[in-house]
């Protein structure tokens, strides 16, 4: 039997942007979004897929989405990996260097909830433990199409396909 375990709420010290602010961000970034990617302990599978977003098959530039080298120009932080101890500080510094308003996306099973690494002596096991996460893109690794959907979802340009209510419904069905 499959059980769904919902993710922990992020630490209370971390504030999430309000719905109104989020709508404003989505409006502002609608047609031009710059992404800074940070690898916080991935297996390189996620990077391989993210890199293909700019290849001819996907060409994410068509959607007005670009990768930037510096966090100072970035609107969105795309994080992969199980958040290793050594990457906590560089990750937080990258986030701090970004101008507000800023979005954070947890990419891949590792960043969402630790994947097979989970919370261990060397990994925090979820991005939400240290940063406020706007969108989770599951998958191991998420395919380029899943990544594009997740990014458009973050920008309010695509619909959420799976809802918490659906999970609750399944849980009810089991009971």
């Amino acid at each position: 039997m499959v059980t769904f375990e919902l993710l922990d709420e992020p630490d209370s010290s971390i504030t999430e942007p309000s719905t109104a602010l989020r709508r404003q961000i989505q409006h502002l970034f609608g047609r031009s979004l710059h992404i800074r990617h940070v690898d916080a302990g991935s297996c390189n599978g996620c990077e391989s897929e993210i890199k293909l977003l700019t290849s001819p098959y996907y060409d994410i530039h068509r959607l007005g989405i670009f990768f930037t080298t510096t966090p100072r120009h970035a609107d969105l932080l795309l994080v992969t990996g199980a958040i290793t101890r050594a990457m906590v500080d560089p990750l937080q510094r990258t986030y701090a260097a970004m101008p507000e308003p800023r979005l954070v996306v947890a990419t891949g099973a590792c960043a969402c909830d630790g994947g097979i690494f989970g919370r261990s002596c060397l990994t925090l096991g979820r991005l939400s433990a240290i940063l406020p996460v706007d969108t989770y893109i599951p998958g191991c690794p998420p395919t380029p199409l899943a990544l594009i959907h997740g990014l458009l979802l973050t920008l309010g340009r695509a619909e959420q396909r799976l809802h918490r209510q659906i999970l609750a419904h399944h849980a009810d069905g089991k009971a």
Partner: protein, 516 residues
Amino acid sequence: MSILDWARQVRLLHPNEWEVVLTPANLTTTVEALCANPRNHFTDMFGVEMGGERQLRLLFALDSEHGWLHLVVPVTGDSPHYTSLVEVCPATLWYEREVAEECGIIPSGHPGPLHLRLPDDWPEGVYPHGGGFSWQDKIPAVAPHPVELASAPDGIVDYPLGPVRSGVVESGHYLLRTAGEELVDMRLQLFYKHRGIEKRAEGCSLLHLPLIAERISGTSAFAHSLALCEAVERAAGIEAPPRARYLRTLFAELERLYNHHGYQADLCQATGLVVGQAQFDVLKERLLRLNARLAGHRYLFGLNVPGGLSRDLTDTERQVIDEELRFQRRTFTVLEELLFRSNSHIDRLERTGTLPPELALAWGAVGPVGRAAGVDRDLRRDHPYAAYAELDFAVPLETDGDALARARLRLEEVRQSFRLIDQILGSLPSSAVRVPPEACMVRPGVSALGWVESPRGEGVHWLSFGEQRQARRYRVRTGSFANWQTFPAAVPGHNILTDFPVIEQSFGLSFAGADR
């Protein structure tokens, strides 16, 4: 002790796998004797703790016997010591540090610091492979040890890069030392991504181990799960069915192909050849889609299982591969010719980032990096696994050791992979693709080795089982780990700062694989 003396005490563990037990006192002479033969290669060194006893273990590849030799050195006491081997075998440098840090076995006379892989806030004296705690235990952070930054001499500028660097890349830190334009030296700080994979595997069942192996380096997932499954099968004393061995070879070569295409794309990106990058990315993407169609996963996760493969190949799928390969071959031939006519690309590679062949050999460079610098080794030929012994292929070799040699070598390897896949499709045996799970049973307490020539060099996995048939110690030495050790040697001399991205890409190493 002479070679003859200890040769009498050598014990055969599995076919082509021998073990000899030594004392710390006669370790140095043994290693020296082994290194005197140019066909013996130091491969790995790690510490093991079992039931309160610690062992230092070294692994040598004996190429002329097509075999492997374990040197086992039981150690005792609170802080066991042995004489550092760096002088007789320079390639042991990082390995000694790892053993000291993670198992508490100290090399006396080791040049330089012993810290290597654990994060800065890790408390001293807590050894991940020294027993006493599990991977899930929380190890509290301590104040990080102060890092002393030597200031650069006059006229020299230090250029720190990373761990968060430009572009979509893995995390790692370089300190580039420049005099004007010229690169004079570099320091490497890896292991930001250390996830403790070996620790994570402790206590895992046969069912879970392949999942872990696949995530060592996602772009070599099939290679690593293959090495792991071969280790399990050797421990269980079985062999995968013939069809599974052929199909494993097929998927291993498909993985090599998409990696080598991705490598050329990244190299084109480094030299600013946008069209080349796009074209090689197209080839890579098509192979990933082929993988998804054949295995249900673009990176072949979930395909290898102990005892064979989780799914078979249908005849239609065989034709699909055949058609895609025809397209790949055609396009690749055109692209290769175009690459060599692009002077802007070739000029940036020629005599850039040269790894001198004598250093490559002494420091244990493996895989394409080694073969581009004259190290004529390939596990597929020298220690055949899966179905390689039954197939015909050449091992390309270059001797210049520069970025161009590394790029050319991978282009040639692509052609060899095409050849291998053609042969496999034409001679696929019919049999089951998996032995029944109950036949793949390991005896408690047994250990075995698995190896593979991954796209980035040789991966060697050692697995030892506990009383409940769970993994007691899982050790992984990836090709990237071995090659990173040689990387700084290629940087000084005739290279300028803007060559650095080219040098980095031309090695094509994985951080995840090295950090584990």
